[in-house]
């Protein structure tokens, strides 16, 4: 027997593979399109030194010194005052909900003290659930403040004209795990739930059992529920494991209500399994289902606020981020676990997740083919 290498045989094999690759249009499009789309998307959206983060200003007397401070802060590029005239109570709600990343409080005697040459105080509270949000914005503070006031007062500053008090709220030590571990629950759930259920129908089709299933009296709703509900149980196990690990291994505090967290997780997992099922109604093979899942997975990881601060992305990327259930889940779990947010404060996220559940289910039922057409 001769063991040789034949160019003719290799050519035959290469030819066959090329034809098969060309016939599988979706794979081909994905190979060419996905890198391009993701490069553009992430290249422009991702920002590890987030700027223009939303801030609220609590300043009962808006005198010239206050205005000078505010414009100086805005000039650093890190702050964008979305609520320039908030009360302390309003600001508290905003930071708890995650609408703003900073609350800047200028006390009413701020200007008087400066004019007298006393040391004035101002308070900057940063939402430190994501430590990277706070770092850049805070590190530039003292120099900015000193020069701003100097020019406004028209004389060189006293030794320490302004004392800036910084509160890193919710995560005073800036521990990254506080931010990452609760979010990982969402990411882990998303990966497993969507992937498993995206195979639901394609597996039946590939094994040839779909024809039989359709010839028997089961309605689309029954088939969908039968396919996705078992994974709720799988999800429940994952939730228990991750929450226990968060508590025991990482010492993540659980400030808010456990039942609110579980309610949110339930909605999120339901949205995910139905999304997976939806993917399986539009895919023809398991391979396609897998590709679509990954095409969905990467942007949701990048644009949901898991890896990079959500508020630090350009506005268009934030809008895009809103279409991922993960975005809303991350807001919810971080708010409730770390900030102790109440149901009312996370109502938006709960509503968004409910909408996802209903929307995905409707589209999936509509897309489900009752016949083999």
């Amino acid at each position: 027997m001769r063991i040789g290498f034949s160019l003719g045989r290799l050519r035959a094999l290469l030819g066959k593979e090329t034809i098969q690759m060309r016939r599988d249009r979706l794979t081909f499009a994905m190979m060419l399109g996905v890198p391009l789309v993701q490069l553009m998307l992430f290249g422009f959206a991702i920002n590890t030194d987030p700027k223009e983060l939303p801030a609220a200003l609590v300043a009962p007397t808006q005198d010239r010194f206050t205005r000078a401070m505010v414009s100086a802060l805005e000039l650093t590029g890190y702050y964008r005052f979305v609520a320039p005239d908030a009360t302390a109570g309003e600001a508290e709600v905003m930071i708890a909900r995650g609408d703003v990343s900073f609350v800047v409080t200028v006390p009413s005697d701020f200007g008087r003290r400066i004019e007298r040459g006393d040391t004035a105080q101002m308070l900057i509270e940063a939402d430190a659930t994501d430590p990277s949000v706070a770092s850049g914005a805070i590190s530039t503070l003292s120099t900015v403040a000193a020069s701003a006031l100097a020019s406004e007062a028209g004389r060189p500053p006293a030794a320490a004209p302004v004392e800036i008090v910084v509160h890193r709220r919710y995560n005073p030590e800036g521990i990254t795990q506080y931010n990452i571990v609760p979010a990982l629950l969402g990411v882990i759930l998303q990966l497993t739930m969507v992937m498993m259920t995206s195979m639901a129908l394609t597996r039946e089709i590939e094994r040839g059992t779909m024809e039989n299933l359709l010839s028997m009296p089961a309605t689309p709703l029954e088939i969908m529920l039968g396919k996705v509900l078992p994974y709720l149980a799988v999800g429940a196990v994952q939730v228990v494991v991750v929450l226990l690990a968060a508590r025991v291994l990482f010492g993540i505090p659980l400030v808010g209500s456990l039942s609110l967290i579980l309610g949110g997780v339930f909605l999120f997992v339901l949205a995910l399994v139905i999304l997976g099922y939806l993917i399986s109604t539009v895919s023809r093979t398991q391979m396609q289902a897998m590709q679509v899942t990954f095409f969905f997975f990467l942007p949701s990881l990048m644009l949901s606020g898991f890896m990079f601060p959500f508020r630090g992305m350009p506005t268009w990327a934030q809008w895009l981020g809103e279409i991922f259930p993960l975005t809303h889940f991350l807001r919810l779990i971080r708010s409730v676990m770390l900030k102790g947010a109440t149901a009312a404060e996370v109502a938006d996220s709960l509503a968004a997740l409910t909408l996802f559940v209903l929307g995905f289910a409707l589209v999936a039922l509509f897309r489900f083919r009752r016949t083999l057409d």
């Binding site: 059992t209 010839s215 009296p217």
Partner: protein, 307 residues
């Protein structure tokens, strides 16, 4: 007994530009075993799928068990048993689990009793924990049939149920079909095998999407109006050469040492065969036309629109 089990007319199905089933009109009486014949890709499976609600016809209408095939698909599914061409039960479930699943979907109660009875009828009670995927072809077929008739359907549609099954299992399968038909069940069964066609009460022949013959086997053979001659003797090979394309000759098929010659024009065929027999020293005599001869003839005359 008044209303037929199946009565469809003008059924048409297109996949893209290809018309796979073209205006098929078919009627099957209750309690009848109807054989559905035709070459590969002739539209048998598509026709069956349209009748049991798995495909939406592009044109045509019809009733199955008195139910509209477009509007009452759900009701049809509950009263029809459909056995797919490829084994389509769950190979990673055991025999019993598969039956339990089917019984549950049809809402049979109590499920346990139904499954137990079916297992007993099948003679599979001792093997009920075996995975369906591990069964041999013949057993898979028996399991599939049992699962299809479990909910006591009024109509059974079987799509090439005996493909890849050995002759003994086939024989038993057909005995079972006849037993079920005696119980009042209507059966539509598609097949390639001529011996199976002859076990049907009536047959319908479809070719390239057109229904081109239906009736009992004798009627189909008679309606074809073919004449068959058999040549015997040492010179059949030479005779076959000479007969090719000769006037009146449509088919030449060697059967062992004999040669079957079939033609539509009986007189021309007889003349040609007598001539060739004389020249090659063969003996020629008239014979019965077989169903297979008819089908080969039908296949040759209907046009191929698949290309």
């Amino acid at each position: 007994m008044s209303e037929p089990a199946i009565s469809v007319s003008g059924l048409t199905k297109r996949f893209g530009a290809r018309t796979v089933v073209d205006a098929v009109t078919l009627a099957v009486a209750r309690g009848e075993i109807m054989g559905f014949l035709g070459p590969n890709g002739s539209g048998k499976t598509t026709t069956i799928r349209m009748m049991c609600g798995l495909l939406e016809p592009d044109e045509g209408e019809g009733r199955v068990l008195g139910l509209d095939i477009r509007r009452e698909r759900g009701a049809i599914k509950r009263r029809v048993g459909y056995m797919t061409q490829k084994f389509s039960f769950y190979e990673d479930l055991t025999i019993e689990e598969n039956l339990r699943f089917v019984a549950g979907l049809y809402g049979m109660s109590p499920v346990n009793a139904a499954v137990r009875d079916t297992l007993e009828d099948l003679g599979l009670t001792s093997r009920r924990d075996q995975l369906a995927g591990k069964l041999s072809g013949g057993w898979k077929q028996r399991l599939a049939l049992a699962a299809c008739v479990m909910h006591k359907p009024d109509l059974l549609m079987l799509d090439e149920p005996t493909a890849g099954v050995d002759p003994k299992a086939r024989r038993e399968f057909w005995d079972e079909i006849h037993r079920l038909a005696q119980g009042g069940l209507t059966v539509l069964v598609s097949t390639h095998y001529m011996d199976e066609a002859e076990r049907c009460h009536r047959i319908a022949y479809i070719s390239y999407g057109h229904l081109i013959a239906q009736g009992s086997v004798a009627e189909v053979v008679r309606d074809a109006g073919l004449t068959t001659m058999v040549l015997t003797g040492p010179g059949t090979a030479a005779a076959a050469q000479r007969l090719k394309g000769a006037p009146g000759v449509d088919q030449i098929a060697p059967f062992g040492a004999t040669l079957h010659v079939v033609g539509k024009d009986g007189a021309a065929l007889a003349r040609t065969v007598a001539e060739v027999a004389r020249a090659t020293g063969c003996k020629a005599e008239p014979a019965e036309t077989s169903l297979e001869d008819v089908f080969i003839q039908l296949m040759g005359t209907s046009t191929d629109n698949m290309a």
